[in-house]
Symmetry: C2
Subunit: 193 residues, 2 copies
Amino acid sequence: MSEQIAGYDFGAVPRSPVTMDELRRLEAALEFTTQDREMLSRARSVIADHAEGLVDGWRAIIGAHDFLSEWFVGPEGKPDDAYKAAVKKRFVQWVVDLVTRPFDQAWLDYQHEIGLRHTPTRKNQTDGAETPLLVPLRYLLAFIAPVALAVRPLLQTAGFAKEEIDLIHAAWTKAVILSVTLWSAPYVRDGLW
Amino acid sequence: MSEQIAGYDFGAVPRSPVTMDELRRLEAALEFTTQDREMLSRARSVIADHAEGLVDGWRAIIGAHDFLSEWFVGPEGKPDDAYKAAVKKRFVQWVVDLVTRPFDQAWLDYQHEIGLRHTPTRKNQTDGAETPLLVPLRYLLAFIAPVALAVRPLLQTAGFAKEEIDLIHAAWTKAVILSVTLWSAPYVRDGLW
């Protein structure tokens, strides 16, 4: 299935400058444990099955604000719909990956690639687009909130027990923060990340 | 009370380079609304009364990992206890401020100051300490997770209704992410924040 996603180069991107040891330290700082991994597994099918709906919800927030949607605008001042559609498929796959893939070297490498694709180093290249060369880091960080919070109603609808919902939601929140933390590396001044 | 906190210079720091308009945009990206403000007010006394306990919990995570506690170590290779104690009081006050202060110009300015105090520009200066000149951004970001998640058990113990707990916890999570997003600005390459 993932072969059908243009530009989804998981497993075929350069090595992240972040080491696996550093990834494990970040997991420890987040308190991401084997229980969290187990909780993500438990919610895997629910979250993966609803990944497109989740992304549609986040896209609606972006669409509601010029200062968020302007990063998808082409040189003629109109939204680049082909770019938006291409990015969306990879955004959906990121959700699926977050609940299905181990946080191993390939996953680590791909998080760095995702970060780069939001910066002038690599934005637009994957899709041959001509949108602005950046999504500012502040919006990636702020967007942790809607991405982390959107999963709880989904879990409630899916009928998980209350205690399970809390644990799954915590695991999801940690995974999102870990991923976006890794995306932030290319934005940061030398030696400060 | 806050006059007793050494180095707590709220209201007496330079203007943040981030504008109030930008702060409002970040709030919109986070979906931080008047309802969230109301929810923080509702939990104000519970969270503020337990702020020191919350910070103790986060400090325990830091203390459990050399790669987190090393930023508090003095030139002799031992933890700088005076520095730790001074920083702790301000950390507690940050929790209190997050649920009591409006997100206005003074608050915005102080978030930038807090960010700077984690970077070589300003770390150690407030307390005349000689610890490493940095807390790496990746650990500030990763720490959003324990800081966001620790409040839910507190709200449960305090006897809030389930729906209220979800709403207050969401508001707290957004507020934490907003604050740390503002802290990140001094770490980021020119033009990429």
